[in-house]
């Protein structure tokens, strides 16, 4: 039944304030989580929560984009729109994870990288590019989970992974349906139509081979049975880590490369 939801309905669900945020996933998935701050260069971007902890006893590094649940938190978190220092914090801690052989879990939930003046002055484009550049050859397993809104390069920047999960009602797209409509239809109010055409739902993206697996959401709403979602995710990630760690690092990197190499060649 939920398979029948319109794309636009999922966009709205993906953005709901009560929908679990990255901090909820961290709290339920990771034991003894310790947040680590700063990019060692400019500042600490609160649109990213990064840190270390245990997943069922395995030390992991978590790189997560955080939207607020309240207006106050959203102000603090810049509505989940990272600045360059957010990506640079992520890069720093992902390289640290590689150094200590820790698997990386990235959690994606952003309306996009922040299009502000400071962001441009500090190289937003370079920061996003560098993050993908480094992730593509990190010798440690990377698991990505799109939990809400995965919009544009700001989302993709931390989505270069060995395995990509997507929550059933999350969306992942080149930009927001409003932006898409205003560029291509010259009318941002046509966002519903845009959403239908953009192929941004988990089912569309699974079909296109952009993501690996969909995490089903409970019928009564994800916020009402979050434990069930977390349990599924935990089991799957543990299984993935075990499988990826069986591979030689070169094989892991080659597979990661092929994953993105094939995208765009699999349809016609």
């Amino acid at each position: 039944m939920s398979n029948q939801l319109k794309a636009w309905d999922r966009v709205l669900k993906a953005r709901e304030a009560q929908r679990p945020k990255a901090s909820d996933y961290i709290e339920n998935l990771i034991d003894d989580f310790m947040e680590l701050h700063g990019d060692r260069n400019y500042g600490d971007d609160k649109a990213f929560i990064c840190g270390i902890g245990y997943l069922e006893g395995i030390p992991v590094t978590v790189i997560a984009q955080q939207k607020g649940k309240t207006t106050k938190e959203n102000m603090e978190r810049n509505f989940g729109m990272p600045n360059p220092e957010g990506y640079r914090k992520a890069i720093r801690l992902m390289k640290q994870a590689e150094k200590f052989g820790r698997p990386i879990i990235t959690i994606i939930d952003t309306p996009g990288a922040y299009p502000g003046m400071g962001a441009e002055e500090r190289g937003q484009g370079e920061a996003i590019a560098r993050s993908m550049f480094e992730m593509s050859q990190l010798k440690t397993p990377i698991i990505a989970v799109v939990i809400g809104e995965g919009s544009s390069g700001g989302a993709l920047a931390i989505c270069i992974a060995d395995k990509i999960y997507m929550l059933e009602n999350a969306v992942y797209s080149i930009l927001s349906p409003e932006g898409f409509a205003s560029i291509l239809y010259k009318d941002s109010s046509k966002c519903k139509e845009a959403a239908e055409n953009m192929k941004l739902t988990s089912y569309d993206l699974k079909e296109l081979g952009i993501i690996d697996e969909i995490i089903k959401e409970p019928k009564k709403g994800i916020e009402n049975d979050f434990e069930k979602v977390v349990h599924q995710l935990r089991q799957k990630i543990l299984q993935d880590i075990a499988e990826i760690e069986k591979m030689k690092p070169t094989e892991m990197l080659e597979k990661r490369y092929e994953k993105y190499r094939q995208i765009g060649n699999t349809f016609d």
Binding site: G116, Q137, N197, Y257, F267
Partner: protein, 286 residues
């Protein structure tokens, strides 16, 4: 200079025509510089590498002209010149639009890739073209650039990428977005193989191209006064609700903020590229 010639022409006969009207009348042979507003003789502009002889404004040029300006005559061998169009979203009118552009521009897509020599130094080249859907990157552009980078890695050659792009191509949706990942990871492999990459940013280089390979060259050059950024100026102005200062996101601005190595005028570009290739020559082919 040229404006004086125009004034003379204007005064032929008894009626004095205003400059602007004159420029309209003389369309075909004359162009108006959108920067200094000087009326310029087209042929003179062309001979000046499409740079305004009056103010030095670098006008946009086609990939074909760029290749002719940079690559030794007769050495350019194009790769993948004819890849099939892809329309993953089945976006209304997209295929027709591409076909019309192919007809009009005599180009197949927004980038030309190949191998060529610069004063005898061999390199792989990818030259984007702003006349083709504003140089936007869809699956064909992404594939051609990725292939070129992989070919450079395989043949152990340096790669030079001339960038001009409005960013990822909207009509191919998420598939376009993924081209950023694809090109970037190929760039990383080239990097790990110890090979040289040079990116030349030209007006405009924005969005998904800035946020992928364009920002990752070992050496990043830019033409003067090009617009270079991640978000477009209008989007930024709408977000911060203020007008951007003059020169924001220009090549000069990026140089000042540490994101490019050097600004190079078009007349010096070939020489500078040669100098870079020559210095790195011994590190290739090892």
């Amino acid at each position: 200079m040229v404006i004086d010639q125009i004034k003379k022409i204007n005064q032929v006969g008894s009626e004095i025509v205003k400059n602007e009207e004159a420029s309209n009348m003389l369309i075909g042979k004359w162009v108006k510089c959108d920067n200094c507003k000087e009326i310029l003789y087209k042929e003179e502009v062309h001979e000046n590498l499409n740079v305004c002889p009056n103010c030095g404004k670098h006008f946009r040029i086609s990939s074909r002209r760029r290749i002719a300006q940079i690559v030794d005559e007769g050495t350019f061998e194009e790769m993948n010149s004819d890849m099939p169009i892809k329309d993953p979203l089945h976006f209304e009118g997209y295929v027709k639009k591409i076909q019309a552009l192919q007809e009009k521009t005599k180009l197949k897509e927004a980038v030309q890739t190949g191998i060529g020599e610069i004063y005898g130094e061999k390199a792989i080249l990818a030259v984007m073209d702003g006349n083709f859907m504003m140089g936007s990157m869809g699956s064909v552009v992404g594939e051609k650039i990725t292939y070129a980078i992989e070919e450079a890695t395989k043949q152990r050659l340096p790669i030079i990428i001339f960038c001009v792009s409005g960013g990822a191509r909207m009509q191919e949706g998420i598939i376009s977005l993924m081209q950023m990942a694809k090109t970037t990871q190929a760039f990383m492999k080239l990097n790990k193989a110890g090979l040289l990459s040079v990116c030349v940013l030209t007006d405009p280089t924005t969005g998904g191209v800035t946020a992928s390979f364009a920002s990752l060259g070992d050496i990043i050059l830019a033409e003067p006064k090009a617009l270079i950024g991640f978000a477009g100026p209008r989007v930024i102005e709408q977000t911060v609700k203020q007008k951007l200062p003059e020169g924001f996101q220009s090549s000069e601005f990026l140089l000042e903020h540490g994101f490019i190595d050097k600004i190079v005028e078009r007349k010096d570009m070939k020489k500078v590229l040669y100098q870079i290739l020559k210095l790195h020559h011994s590190t290739e082919n090892k």
